[in-house]
Amino acid sequence: MSTIRVLIAKPGLDGHDRGAKVIARALRDAGMEVIYTGLRQTPEMIVEAALQEDVDVVGLSILSGAHRTLVPLIRQLMDSQGLQDVPLLVGGIIPDADHEALQAAGVSAIFGPGTSTDDIVAYIRQVAARD
């Protein structure tokens, strides 16, 4: 099985990256290659990175509350650039009330605070099966 490549991105102005880094390390320890974009990424930058790195999965970390705007936009951009088959995962602070809207917008999974990294690893392994 080829190595799973994951993009972990921090969109928007959210400066809290500890969670994203914890996830990145957990995925690395699970044998995955993690491309970490750093802070303050625009949706365009995130999709460009996902495309160039040909990742299996895109993970967004958002604690700023801007998910209702950013997430659908990123999903749309991914679709328009040929990345429609790449699952989009979201972590951070996402109120339960917003889950349905995000899922309708094309998010594959939402991992809130307290999710075990084992669960995230297992999920990614499952959805990342490619050609």
Partner: protein, 338 residues
Amino acid sequence: MNPDEQQLVTQVRAGSRRALARLLTRVENESADAMLAALYPHTGQAWVIGVTGAPGTGKSTLVNALALYYRAQGKSVGIVAVDPTSPFSGGAILGDRVRMRDLAGDSGIFIRSMATRGSLGGLAPATRDAVRVLDAAGFDVVLVETVGAGQGEVEIARAAETVIVVEAPGLGDDVQAIKAGILEIADVLVVNKADRPGAESTARALKAMLELGHPAAREGFMAQRERLLPDDPPEEHAPLWVASVVQTVALEKQGIDALADAIAQHRLYLESSRLRERLARRQIEMELYQRLQSALMRRLREKISADEFALAVERVSAREWTPQQAIEWILELLVAKD
């Protein structure tokens, strides 16, 4: 090549970035042999620049600044950023893109992060193949960034035409580059973070090492980089290249024009003395040896069973055989099986 692969190759040559990304993935997974064969005749146009040095010297920031400079000149730039795979988990954190945000949104730039994936000693063949793909895709310059950690620094010299070694003042040991092998392979030595104290003395120390070096030692550098092939006329002596020392503050984009200038001088030197072809030939030699090692080991593993190998281990552990005797036994077994 099946139709899928043919299409991928055509799309890459036509400038599709999605196709390029997918092809690079196949290269990393070692499932791109036919496509690489189709692209190989189109390689050799790009100038390949290797950037190496200890962690924390500012390599990614420097690559960012240098790429911007080349873009301003109208050159397209492909970047391969290599980071080490964890030997424990097989995973990796590839974070070089973090330093390259200036390059975002520019269609004349393509950045690919790669992990070393535990290649047997040095630069992975996949990295070299990735460089070739970017070359064949039409990029004018290809920058390869690797972390220097002993072996890594020397390895990049086998894949790049101009090798830049990045130093930074105040990292602990006075001048890292004085370690064996690094001075020999550097074509340009960069003292980055030159706004910090000690930059001037670091630059001076490096220049002193290079200038005061015995001419015979310098001949050693060149011999290591492009050994004269048996059929070259012995009287043909190219003038020697002495590495330039450049100071930069990559974060502020200072000193980048001096760096680009040094690189251009080196390129002129290689091309005018026809050393470019000889260097390429020497690099191919070394690459073939490296690939042969892997291929032969793989073949050996196919022919020698786990039990047979375990037997050899047992005999050596019991001190009945020396390790060398075990090897000879295995090799004889290999011959007998053919």
